[in-house]
Structure formats: structure tokens, C-alpha cells
Symmetry: C2
Subunit: 379 residues, 2 copies
């Protein structure tokens, strides 16, 4: 970093990353996954940041997972040589896939014949062998093949037998863990994420299809997982930062949240039940959170300057493009509390989408800014 | 532009800008505002694009409005020398304000004494005279002073009398026009936006405070305004592009929408009621639209490839970070309709936030891409 920056000298809105919390989160997940006997291939879509990826690697991550080709190229450029693009293959971007796969091991994901055929043709054209996962739907219902369908076994066989394709195994993501209404439901979803995949692998093996690896995982399901028996690797991502959604859903505590938004109060009228901050959708995103638990706090709660605890009665009630509206249950919760020019920290509802709005983190140790780290945003 | 690009060669997701529609929108608003006898100071927060700003200027725009200092610097760097930063002044960013005001006429907005005092101190320190609007709340209830309060007259007087401050007049934005449930309600809000400001200016003049100008305007209120009597300038922004919110609210027709999102179908499972596209929150944003009218179509309707009309029964039902889910009312609406690899155009709910997710527009005339224009995103 060029010159020392003081926390109160940062232009708002800005994204603060607490290095102590980050390091603790990274170490804790690495230890848990290792203790359960699986490999950790963390998803970097949350942080999009080389320095955080390096920290994860120092703690034993074997390979990484990306959501975009921007992330894939950035990490490949910085010495990450084993990357899974965990996104249904986009046929029109196969040229970019091949270019990256010529430099590192890039693993892609398919869940249908059209994508497989396009991939096989690209592999043939390039002379490369492309590592490929079969995406499975373990109950989320977004993408991935139905593990109970006979056609899914046939698709796996086609992948395994296709020239120019190296079949890596089966992969899933229990995104519906974010919708769990309580811990019991989350535990059930985490169990199913593992069991569905182990069972499907058994059926594939019974049908004569070798399954080199099984890849599962999300931060909510990994937070409650008690067994990873039969699982090769897991791909949680959000755990590096956590956010208010994870607090509301009982996945973590406030002290585990590494990213907060620094903003400035820019308007408050006498007698009004709200104050305006300079952080709107362009800073926080418009993510209200998928769960009932997080919805009550709008776009995210305010962190009390005095205690570091969450304000009980003030949160970002709404956002427009550049404005955020801090509101409370009554005028008394706001009146006289916020002075124009004062800085306010917000705990984002969803740290992944908030980070994706910024170009850099201000990295802090306590009250000191020790570095600035680039965010590789884009698609 | 370096080399000719074909529409089908663009990597998705991508933002397409229809130049014919853009030019028509720009000309139409310019003609309307001119006919009503006001100046047009368009808000560039929608497009964040120098080329679109130049087009507006060729059609008679006098000065522009920005929402961020990134926009202010970019336009100042490209020959725009009269810019209003229509955002409550952020005291911590006064150094940036002064730096821009040393190069061009930068007009700022205050709605309280704290901001005014900070601004006056910065003006004193720099030796500059800073042009300043008083922000008024005409009923939106977000920021701005209450035009009925005596304190608001006193604040205007303080601005007008402050050394180093040039009082530009009073400014408002009827953002609640976006919440109107029908045209009658919108017409009423548009009338109030004008009347509240003309009346407040009258009270200020009666109190001996000269009001050099009155600035109002939004795309919805300007679309229905029949009089701008007493108004100096208007600041609509969204009209250059429009979007599905504006269609749903009756502000424009589908043929008036200049920006669409080009995406690719990346997953569809047999028997499923949805298909997945490669455009999620990182492309469309998570803006569900403020109005009941737009909510039924999720994140935006799909444009039928054959007719260019809106698909009656298919829209972007939900988005996660990189995935969009195209859904219909029933399986039959989707089944067999979308092939993996096929391209689908979506009409965004909110073009401003969608544009803010991208770095460039692919500019089209019909099916030909004729240019790429940079988007000055950030805050």
C-alpha cells in the first residue's frame, strides 16, 4: 500500500474488511472441513479478491471455485492453477474457456446434452482435455439434473465417455439452505445435500460409470454439517465475510461478520422518522435477503458506534440508486440520533452482492487501515 | 470503434442500446420541455455515458445533472462545464467538490445547516464561490426541507447571504411519481411538484429572499406535465432509456425502451417450469420496481424473438448473483420454448440500476452493432 490511510479519511461509501475476523473465519472453515475429511475448494464469488484467495490457500484450500470468467482469468493470472467455474456452461463463451484451459486446469459444469456437445466440439477443436463436472439438483430446483432420473445416469455416461472430456464427478449446491426457516430445517437440507449425492454416485457406479469425486457445499449447509462421509470436496464461499442474512439465520454471530459498509449521514429533517445516508443500491445492492428472518431489517442493520452491537431499532429501511434511508420504528428512534456529516456503519444483508458493487476493500486491523485490496467485479 | 462486431458475437450478458429509440426519446423530451418554456438539465445518472450526454446537448440540454462525483469528474473531463450534483452534500467529500469547482461550474445541493456550514468553510478555504441549490421536499419524503416550515425560509436566507456561496435557487425531485398507481395519481403528483415549488418561491420572495431559479423534474412527472409555468429548468433522466417500470406505469410504450439485456439460456431440465439464463443480480440488479404494476413481472419480461413484443407468459421470475430464472405461469409456458445456448432479450425493470452494473453499452442500429460506449459507474 502506498500511503497510510486513516479510517476517518476514507471517502464514503466504502467497504471495510476486518482482517482479524476474516482470518478467523478462513481458519475455522478450513479446520472444520479438514476434520470432516474433505477437501476445501472455496467459492471466491463472495470476495473476488486475490489476497483473500491466497489466505484461503495458506489455510489449505485445494483449488478454488469461481462464478464468472472475470474471476477465472484474474485468479489464473495470479497463480491459481486449479479452478472450477461452477456455473452452467455458456456455449457462446467457450472460446474464453479454452483460452483459460490452455494455461491452467479449468473445470467446467454441464447439466444437459446441448452444453456437453458444444463443449466436446470445443475440446476437439483445441486438442485439449476439458475437466467437466455434472451438475446435480439436490433440491434447490434452479439448475442441475434430477438425480432420480434415468436420463441423468445416461448423461453422466456420455460425459465420462466423451473424447476430449475428463469426467471430474458430480457437483451440487444446496442454495435452498438460504431459505431454511430454522436450524432444524437447515440441518435437514445439509443432510440431504450429502445423501442425495452419495446415493446418486452409488447409482452411477452400479451402472458402470466411475465417479472420481463428489463436490457439494454452501456456507449455511457447511455451518451445520456433522458428516462429509463420501464427499470429496466442499465449496462454501460466503463464510469468509458472513453478513446479516447469516446472522439472522443463525449461521454465525455478529462478531463473525468481516465486511461492513461505511457511510455518511447526508440529510435529516427536524421531526422526521428517518435520516438519509450516502449508500443506496449502488453500494448495498437491493438484496432484501431470501429469508423471513432477515426481512425485518430491510437492507441491513446499523452498527452502533459506541458498542459495535447492532442497533436494535434503526436499520436501512430502503434504498434508491444512491440514497439509503435509515429508519426506525418511531420518530424517537431517529430524532436527534444522527447528525449530518456523521459516519454510520451498516452490516449488509448480503455481503456477496455488496462487494460486487465495489472496486476495492479498505482492509482494517481495529481502527487502522492496513491495505486496499482489489475486487475483480464483472461477469 | 476498432472492429465491427456482430450482434451474435457479443459475449453475454450484455447491455444493448438501440440508437434509433435513444435519439427519438432524447428529441421528444427536449421538444416537450422547450414547448413548455423551461430549460432541460437532464440527469445523466441513468446512462452515465458521455456520448448520450453529448446527444442530449445537441438537442438543447443546458447543463447536466449528476448523482455521483464519478459522473461529475467524467463529464467535466469531457467538456461539460455546467453540472449540478443533485445529491445532499457529503461533507467528507468537499475536497473533491472544490477540485471540480476549480475547473467548471459545479452546483451542489444542501438541505440543512450542517452541510451549509461545511460548504461555506470549504468555499472560504478555496477562495471559490460555490453555486448552491436548496433542496425541497415536494412530497416524496426522502430528503429536502419542508416548504411549509418557517425554518426553510431562514435556511434559504442563510444560503443567499453566506459569503462564498452563490444561491442558485430551489430544487426538488418528485420521486414518489414512481409510486403512482395510475395516471390520475401521477398527474396530481406532477402538478404538486410544480405548485409546491412556485408557492415556496413566492414565500421566499415575500420574505425578501431572491430565488434565481426553480428546478424540478423526473421522467414520470415530465411525461404527464402540461404546464411548467414558473419553472426554470427540469431534470428528468430515465426518459433516455425508459424500462419496464415505465411501461407498466403507463409512462411509455415498449417501443420507447432503448436498453435491453442480451442473455443466454444456460440450463433447462425436462419437465421443469423454468429455464436459467446467465443474467442474475450482477446484470439486472435486484430491483423489483416500486410499483404494484411492475411487480407481476419479477425482474423484467422477456422480449419475444419473433415479434419484438413482450412475452405474455414468460419473465425473469427471480435472480441470484449470476443466475436468472425465466419462469412462466405453467410448465407449458416454458417447456420446449428455450434451448440451451439460445439468446434471450430481457427488458429490465429498472434501466438505471441495470446500466450501473455494466461497463459499456453495445450500441445498435437495428441488428448491427455500430459502437461501444463506456459507462462511468461507481460512486
Amino acid at each position: 500500500m502506498a500511503s497510510r490511510i486513516r479510517l476517518d479519511g476514507i471517502p464514503t461509501p466504502a467497504l471495510l474488511l476486518d482482517l482479524d475476523v476474516l482470518e478467523r473465519n478462513v481458519a475455522r472453515m478450513a479446520a472444520k472441513v479438514s476434520a470432516l475429511g474433505a477437501r476445501l475448494r472455496p467459492h471466491v464469488k463472495t470476495h473476488k479478491c486475490i489476497e483473500v484467495g491466497r489466505l484461503q490457500r495458506r489455510h489449505g484450500a485445494e483449488g478454488i471455485t469461481v462464478a464468472t470468467l472475470v474471476e477465472a482469468r484474474a485468479f489464473a493470472d495470479h497463480g491459481f492453477d486449479d479452478i472450477t467455474w461452477a456455473f452452467p456452461l455458456v456455449p457462446g463463451r467457450l472460446g474464453e474457456v479454452i483460452a483459460i484451459a490452455q494455461r491452467i486446469v479449468l473445470r467446467v459444469v454441464v447439466d444437459g446434452l446441448e452444453a456437453l456437445d458444444a463443449l466436446a466440439a470445443a475440446a476437439r477443436g483445441s486438442g485439449l482435455t476439458i475437466h467437466t463436472w455434472l451438475k446435480v439438483d439436490c433440491g434447490y430446483g434452479r439448475a442441475g439434473v434430477d438425480p432420480r432420473a434415468g436420463a441423468s445416469v445416461e448423461l453422466a455416461r456420455r460425459i465420462a465417455e466423451a473424447p476430449g472430456i475428463a469426467f471430474d464427478g458430480i457437483l451440487t449446491h444446496a442454495g435452498h439452505g438460504y431459505l431454511a426457516r430454522n436450524r432444524d430445517e437447515l440441518v435437514r437440507i445439509a443432510g440431504e445435500e450429502r445423501e442425495v449425492m452419495v446415493e446418486f454416485a452409488g447409482r452411477l457406479r452400479d451402472a458402470g460409470v466411475q465417479v472420481p469425486a463428489i463436490s457439494i457445499g454452501s456456507t449455511p449447509t457447511m455451518s451445520v454439517a456433522e458428516s462429509l462421509e463420501g464427499i470429496s470436496e466442499v465449496r462454501p464461499g460466503n463464510y469468509v465475510f458472513h453478513d446479516y442474512m447469516q446472522v439472522a439465520n443463525g449461521v454465525c454471530h455478529l462478531a463473525d461478520c468481516a465486511v461492513t459498509l461505511l457511510s455518511t449521514v447526508i440529510s435529516h429533517q427536524p421531526g422526521s422518522d428517518h435520516a438519509v445516508i450516502d449508500a443506496g443500491a449502488l453500494a448495498l445492492s437491493k438484496d432484501l435477503g431470501p429469508s423471513e428472518a432477515s426481512r425485518g431489517k430491510g437492507l441491513g442493520p446499523v452498527i452502533a458506534a459506541s458498542s459495535g452491537a447492532l442497533e436494535e431499532r434503526v436499520w436501512v429501511r430502503s434504498v434508491s440508486q444512491e440514497h439509503g434511508v435509515l429508519g426506525g420504528a418511531s420518530v424517537a428512534d431517529v430524532e436527534g440520533r444522527f447528525r449530518v456529516g456523521e459516519r454510520v456503519r451498516v452490516l449488509p444483508n448480503h455481503s456477496c452482492l455488496t462487494a460486487a458493487m465495489f472496486d476495492e476493500y479498505y482492509v482494517r486491523r481495529g481502527e487502522e487501515i492496513v491495505d486496499r485490496w482489489k475486487i475483480w467485479r464483472g461477469r
